[in-house]
Amino acid sequence: MKRFLGKLIGFCALQSAILGLLLWGYQEDRYGFCETIIAKHYLSETVSGSRIFFMGGSNVAYGIDSPLAAEQLPHRPINLALSALHGLDFMLMESLDVAREGDIIVLSLEYEHFFEDLTSVELIVRTASWRPEMLRNVGWTQARVILDQGLKFICDTVKHAAKRQRQGEVDAPKSPEEILAHQGFNIHGDFVGHHGKEPTFEFQPTRRTQFQENTAYVARAIEKLNQFARQCESRGVAVVLAYPPYERGYFEERKEQIAWLDKRLRQELAIPIINSPSEMAYESSHFFDTAYHLTAEGKQIRTRQLVEGLYTNLAIKSKQTETAIARRSNSSVKASVRSGKGSVNGDYITAK
């Protein structure tokens, strides 16, 4: 046994030395946007009054016009979304982490969340490196996913380290506002870095049929959402589900599976659904680079639809009666910006 262990340890030491050489001086910047998690939490902690959180994957990060929503809703909008690859569990835990009585959570999940686990260990690890507190919320299910994907994470890191995709210089610590601006987000947490840029999205028929109808998987996703709804209810937080915007060509390709999902959700989900998949199928021209990422015009259309859905499904009072609350919450964010860490320029915060 001693001989075996000696050789095994020797082999592992040799490979670790090679790995150490490979990773020497390597810094990952593929998921730089993860640092905005700090800023988004800062926003939710500093805004007073009732808030409306938009949560989901990048369809929400790219697809909500919060200033427009703020004009029409009495609640202060905060866009919490980053990427679908954080996985459903992470999104639900993050929402619960910030929500308090009187808040509204609008969940807009990419369809994939109901058909497969999208969690990327790499993204979770990168995000946790910015906000280690989030690891407190990692449940057993997600810990299992992280462990199961650990090998992929190591392989990806090795691959990119070998290609030397470096960040270059290490950035100095930034304020939350600077982080948002640096990563192309506005003060509400919406991604606006693509505004004014030429869209690159083009519909290409896919050969692979995605969205395999997996009864067991969708049942688990619904159970998670129902449990989330119960937790929200006990805290006095309202929660609704909104279908994401989806490019019409892709929508048509997966129409049957989406209809199957919609039917199940309407039968089994304990969360009100405020729109339908077909009304969220938009033309290609509204998409920026993927079938979920809206252009500036697309996000305005989507936001108006969302607001209408919220008025219909939730007893939200008119903007006029709640203006004071909204103004107060806006002013608190701007006040923190004025305190010397950044300045507001339209939708953008310009880092000093």
């Binding site: 040799l14 090998l151 692979r208």
Partner: protein, 486 residues
């Protein structure tokens, strides 16, 4: 728990450490039993109850068979075991298939049945462990082996985690005694086990999963593919399923070696076979021998008239096809394989090759007739894989029609050139080419990474290269082993 995950690597390290620290065989067996149930319950702990039920029933039946001499009681006990195991399989694996076909037959003659739907999740590995427990009971019934006396040993044998989910399907005669005798750590098998695990990881992650992307793209939407693409995808699938399944077997055998167990070989370079009979002696050996011993021989085996032999072979292969999946394309696959083997059995006899012969024959290079025969066998297998991989029988039929229509096209060669120009397709060919070359060189050894004859630094250079290529190519997604679905 998937083999090719960090979870498994850490879990293996933990179980290995605990296992060898334990002083007695019984406590080691208990540790293995717990480890196996945790391993299995990692997918869904509810499935573990089925495993336990199947194990308990067969242990009880085995004990009953040992105690009674009455032929009627013995038959009843055997029937109980078969009913329980086959009943579980029928319910979890074939219920939907039976109901759908019954409804289709009903509507064909004008009877409309109410739609009976049950959303049944197929428990992982059920086909494997039910066959293992059934073989135990049948062997006790035939008085080939004595019944297990210790429930702990028996439960540990059935649930032994390296081979629980996708084989090799071990016989009690071979594996159970290994649980019943003391084990001590041995250096050489453990090192050999590590080599085999490393090679298994390489085959699964670097080759099988990459080839799977090509096969999935085409078979995911067969109507959009041309004949050439279907051919390439089928060849890719032929090597994908081989690398995937043999990788699982390699990791299973290697892991078992780390615990002092010797599992049977499951693959012996099948694509170097020069006849279909030889192929099935080299492919999924544990299942082929299972069907030989428990289906083919009871049907009469080869000691009957040649026509009967051929029909026995056909029946055995059709049942084997149905074992793989509850779908008509698996039945057709089985029938096709059975037909090829049966036709070969009717052919004037040539010398039978065994799995112990050198695959592809002696010599550095294959002989021309030998190479031609290998190509013919491979082509027939690819025809079978086309049915095996297709989502339905209609998809398989469409694929065949598309290939037939495209073969006669004038510009087929130009398209083939274009296809090779695609870097993805070229990489597929490169993977397959490298695999075939290293397998040919190492074909006299139990697995490709059996490099004990090399000097220390050469061995370490080989291990390190394989390790780093695996890490560098890495898994794109966590792709389950194909045979998990069976």
């Amino acid at each position: 728990m998937q083999f090719t995950t960090l979870t498994f690597v850490l879990y293996l390290g933990l179980v290995f450490s605990v296992y060898w620290l334990l002083p007695q065989r019984r406590i080691q067996n208990l540790a293995l039993l717990l480890a196996s149930y945790v391993f299995y319950g990692w997918w869904d702990f509810r499935f573990a109850s089925l495993l336990l039920i199947s194990s308990l029933v067969d242990f009880g039946v085995g004990w009953g068979l040992e105690k009674t001499e009455s032929p009627i009681r013995r038959r009843l006990l055997l029937a109980l075991s078969l009913a329980c195991n086959l009943g579980m399989l029928a319910f979890f694996k074939y219920f939907g298939f039976f109901v759908d076909n019954l409804r289709a037959m009903g509507s064909a003659i004008g009877w409309e049945f109410d739609r009976v739907t049950l959303e049944i999740v197929l428990p992982v590995g059920i086909s494997f462990y039910t066959f293992q427990t059934m073989s135990y009971t049948i062997d006790v019934y035939r008085r080939k082996i004595p019944a297990a006396r210790s429930l702990l040993d028996y439960l540990a044998f059935v649930s032994f985690f390296p081979q629980l989910v996708a084989g090799p399907i071990e016989r009690a005669e071979r594996l159970l005694p290994q649980f019943q005798r003391p084990r001590c750590f041995s250096y050489a098998p453990a090192v050999e086990g590590c080599r085999q695990i490393l090679w298994g990881f390489f085959k699964k992650i670097v080759i099988a999963d990459r080839l799977g992307i090509v096969a999935d793209q085409v078979y995911g939407n067969i109507s959009a593919a041309n004949g050439l693409e279907i051919c390439v995808a089928t060849i890719a699938f032929a090597f994908q399923i081989y690398c995937d399944f043999s990788a699982y077997s390699d990791i299973a055998i290697g892991t078992a070696r780390l615990f002092g167990f010797d599992l049977m070989r499951n693959f012996a370079y099948p694509y170097f076979s020069r006849s279909y009979v030889e192929f099935w002696r080299r492919w999924h050996i544990s299942l082929s021998t299972w069907f030989r011993d428990y289906v083919f021989i009871p049907l009469g085996g080869s000691r009957v008239a040649r026509c009967r032999v051929a029909s026995n072979l056909l029946i055995t292969f059709i049942i084997s096809g149905l074992w793989h999946g509850a779908s008509w394309n698996f039945v057709v696959w089985g029938a096709l394989m059975g037909t090829l083997v049966a036709l070969e059995s009717l052919w004037p006899r040539t010398r039978n090759t065994s799995k112990n012969d050198i695959p592809g024959g002696h010599g550095t290079w294959p002989t021309l007739p030998g190479a031609a025969r290998m190509c013919i066998v491979f082509s027939g297998m690819c025809l079978g894989w086309l049915f095996f991989r297709s989502k339905s029988l209609s998809d398989a039929w469409l694929a065949l029609q598309t290939i037939a229509a495209d073969v006669l096209r004038a510009n087929i060669l130009r398209d083939f050139g274009q296809l090779l120009g695609d870097s993805k397709q070229l990489r597929v060919l490169l993977f397959v080419g490298v695999l075939l070359i290293v397998e040919w060189i190492q074909r006299e050894r139990p697995h490709v990474l059996a490099v004990g004859h090399l000097s220390t630094w050469q061995r370490w250079a080989v291990y390190s290269s394989v390790f780093w290529i695996t890490l560098f190519v890495g898994p794109k997604h966590s792709v389950p082993f194909i045979y998990f679905q069976f």
